[in-house]
């Protein structure tokens, strides 16, 4: 017999059961949990190079005068527009009149002047001084106008302003940005449980379009298995760059998830010590290039095809030239080049590897490929600080594998003392010319010449572009799937 009380209880339970998923649904609508491999050490992108800092704060908490969009194009941010005078030296920026810092202070041209002068100050630990060193003077005649005069025409000046190192900070709060960042962006810093998660909240006073998300939680999960488990358990809504490529088939099979393989600016190379014999002989380097079977390497590391490169340039940039065919896999050719260089039987060398999986796994495969022509590469795994000290700083190495993740960093090849020590006056002159060439089409043509020069000299073994593996819930839209700059802007992210 059913009593009245049972009926009531049943009705109550049903109501609860209906309400629960609904309220969970409504809550999920305007908040998102994002998984990342590494935690940012601090939240101030002007004081450290860690990519994780920019991934969290740039274009979310902090903004620059200009921003980069998901296709790699420069777009206005705190500057509405800008003009370059006929002298190719004087930039005039028109600034947003209604932008405010999160503490309520209005944003003005004086903040920009303060930020850029601070970046080159004597105590500054800004890693990318090159962005600001071309500046001759900065004037702030009124709150919405900023005039920057350069010492000489600098083609990539505005481009550099889209980087995290060129964000605009407030003089009142700049000193605390490492732990309590105050910017002008669409999101405000809310709280940070170090080692686990960081929370952002929507900035309702934002000058631009209001973001759909009210709250975003970044969670830091370094273990690849734990990343996959968190995705499959539904603990996180999106992982920006998964460290477990082997889990892709399994994740793709899950209808609740969406997997995207995107491009980055991470040129992954077999770096060669060009100043050390026998690698100082171009024929030896060319021989190495002829045995590097990129497809085998990619399949061995990731299990799927990647975007391959034939020079130090990412296909994300409009000036990219496909040079992957310069040295087709050809063992006979490689052997004859080695013989011509005086090593018919090959030689022994070392291959020092930093910790990332692409380097450790890739190193094994590269060593096996080199062995085919008699080059015996002894593998030495190093921790990253040791790699920085010995390989990068002391240049004490023969071969190494590393990904250069900074965008448009081909100019490093013009630095004589840079760790692979490519010393070519012709290339240096070309980079100088590029720096001064303000016309974009002309500049891109010169970038093409630079790429061809590096390929011809086989400076390094050019392998592939690091993939960005994005896994999102199927009904979440707006995440960046390519990384022209490694960022996770949330302004356009929304639930469908």
């Amino acid at each position: 017999m059913t009593t009245r009380r049972d009926l009531l209880a049943g009705a109550g339970l049903t109501a609860l059961a209906i309400q629960l998923p609904l309220s969970a649904f409504a809550q999920a609508k305007d908040s998102v949990t994002i998984g990342m491999t590494l935690e940012p050490p601090t939240l101030d992108p002007t004081s450290g190079a860690a990519q994780a800092i920019r991934e969290v704060v740039l274009q979310n908490i902090f903004e620059g005068l200009v921003a980069m969009d998901r296709t790699g194009k420069l777009v206005p941010a705190l500057a509405e527009s800008w003009t370059l005078a006929a002298d190719n030296l004087t930039y005039t920026f028109k600034l947003r009149p209604n932008a405010r810092f999160h503490d309520g202070t209005p944003f003005s041209s004086r903040d920009v002047k303060f930020s850029f002068e601070r970046a080159v100050g004597p105590d500054s630990t800004n890693a990318q001084r090159w962005i600001f060193t071309p500046i001759e003077s900065i004037e702030a005649p009124d709150p919405v106008r900023l005039i920057i005069k350069l010492k000489q025409p600098t083609a990539n000046f505005v481009y550099g302003l889209s980087w995290g190192d060129a964000i605009v900070v407030s003089s009142a709060t700049a000193a605390n940005n490492k732990t309590n960042p105050i910017g002008t962006g669409p999101f405000k810093f809310a709280r940070w449980n170090r080692g686990d998660r960081l929370e952002l909240a929507r900035n309702d006073e934002y000058w631009g379009a209001k973001p759909a998300l009210a709250k975003a939680v970044f969670r830091f999960i370094s273990d690849p298995q734990a990343q996959v488990a968190a995705l499959r358990a539904g603990d996180i809504d999106v992982f920006t760059n998964l460290s477990a490529p082997e889990a892709i088939p399994q994740l793709k099979a899950d209808p609740k998830l969406k997997v995207t393989l995107g491009k980055t600016e991470g040129e992954t190379i077999l770096a060669i010590n060009n100043a050390k014999a026998p690698f100082s002989d171009v024929r030896v380097r060319q021989a190495i290039s002829h045995v590097l079977d990129r497809k085998t390497i990619a399949l061995g590391i990731y299990g799927f095809d990647l975007d391959y490169i034939g020079s130090h340039f990412s296909p994300l940039h409009p000036a990219y030239v496909d040079l992957t065919g310069t040295y087709p896999v050809d063992l006979a050719k490689a052997k004859s080049l080695l013989a011509a260089a005086g090593f018919p039987k090959g030689f022994e060398c070392t291959l020092r590897l930093p910790p990332p999986a692409y380097a450790r796994r890739g190193g094994e495969i590269v060593a096996a490929l080199l062995a085919q022509i008699g080059i015996t590469a002894k593998i030495e795994p190093l921790e990253f600080p040791q790699w920085l000290e010995r390989v990068f700083k002391a240049r004490d190495f023969d071969l190494t594998i590393i990904s250069h993740t900074e965008p448009l960093d081909i100019a490093n090849y013009a630095r004589d003392d840079y760790y692979f020590q490519y010393r070519n006056p012709e290339f240096k002159a070309l980079i100088e010319k590029i720096d001064r060439t303000v016309d974009e089409a002309e500049r891109n043509k010169l970038y093409g010449d630079a790429q061809r020069m590096l390929a011809r000299d086989a400076v390094n073994g050019f392998l592939f572009i690091l993939p960005k593996i994005t896994v999102t819930k199927a009904d979440l839209d707006g995440m960046w799937t390519d990384w022209p700059l490694p960022l996770t802007p949330l302004a356009e992210v929304r639930w469908r």
């Binding site: 050490p41 190079a49 890693a127 686990d196």
Partner: protein, 315 residues
């Protein structure tokens, strides 16, 4: 008695000081510049110099050693190179995860391991004994990171009852925080429980051969009462010793388990600060752990006295 305590105290501090010297020297010869790690591949030399000065790395080694020791004594552990916040704050934030986790694991392990061991001893050479031994063997053989992954697969990915990892923080409420510690605590506790079961069993079997046990039985004390009052109580000494020794194993296990479950505890902090070359945190943490292990050994000796009055009188 005071002389004995004084000698113990002196050796306590001598141990700590020699640990400090070794830790400092080892980290000093380790290649790699923390400033370079922070600023990355394209860092300007001026920025590197400024950061080295900010971190105090431009000072001579001896000076840095004494300022570190001075800081340890006054409770100032310095500023983390990577996070740029006081190390004491970092350790504090992580303690509230690791301490409950380790306590839960020890409690769970004792609650499972000691009764199981006692049960096995009481049923020596019978089916119950064999079953416990199989459990103990499996518990020892299964690596706890693998067991952790298995728990995640079953209870988080499969059933969806518990989170797969992470820690919402105690501010998010007691139950959500506790929920995220449950699986890792079980994963940590399993091998400990296995060891405790084995130690309890063999200690009890040994005690059962003692004269006073036979005397008690001869006097007509029930078997159950003999087991609890005489055998188990006397067998607890080796069990407590093992519990203390397990503490350092637990810390090492926590490093792995905290990584598997993405828990922001001390173990993960050790792992992260080594990877990020945050040498000041590494130094402080290794020092802290050494201190803890030395202290625990001291505490175990005090516990002996509580359990066995004879030892109290002997010293």
């Amino acid at each position: 008695m005071t002389g004995y305590l004084l000698r113990r105290l002196l050796s306590f501090f001598a141990t700590l000081l020699s640990a400090a010297i070794v830790i400092f020297l080892v980290l000093e010869v380790l290649p790699g510049d923390p400033a370079a790690v922070t600023l990355g591949l394209n860092a300007a030399p001026e920025a590197l110099a400024a950061l080295r000065a900010e971190m105090g790395l431009d000072q001579p080694a001896l000076l840095r050693f004494f300022s570190w020791i001075g800081g340890l004594i006054t409770g100032d552990l310095g500023l983390s190179y990577t996070y740029r916040v006081p190390v004491t704050q970092l350790i504090g934030e992580r303690m509230v995860v690791t301490l409950p986790l380790a306590s839960m694991a020890i409690l769970l392990a004792s609650a499972i391991g000691i009764p199981l061991g006692a049960l096995a001893a009481a049923n020596h050479n019978r089916a119950g004994d064999a079953a416990v031994m199989v459990f103990a063997q499996a518990g020892l053989a299964i690596p706890n990171f693998w067991f952790g992954l298995l728990l995640v697969l079953v209870f988080a990915v499969g059933a969806g009852w518990l989170p797969a990892g992470g820690f919402p923080g105690w501010h998010a409420g007691f139950w959500p925080a506790l929920k995220s510690l449950l699986l890792p605590a079980v994963a940590l506790a399993l091998p400990q429980a296995a060891i405790l079961a084995r130690v309890t069993r063999s200690a009890m079997l040994e005690t059962m051969q003692e004269d006073y046990v036979r005397t008690a039985r001869a006097k007509g004390v029930s078997r159950r009462r003999t087991m609890l009052r005489h055998v188990l109580r006397n067998a607890l000494i080796p069990v407590v010793t093992v519990l203390g020794l397990q503490f350092s194993v637990l810390l090492a296990g926590a490093i792995i388990i905290e990584n598997v479950f993405a828990l922001p505890g001390l173990g993960r902090l050790v792992f992260q600060s080594i990877a990020q070359h945050d040498l000041i945190v590494v130094k402080d943490l290794v020092m802290l752990f050494s201190g803890l292990v030395v202290f625990i050994n001291f505490a175990i000796e005090l516990l002996y006295g509580l359990i066995d009055p004879r030892l109290r009188q002997a010293s």
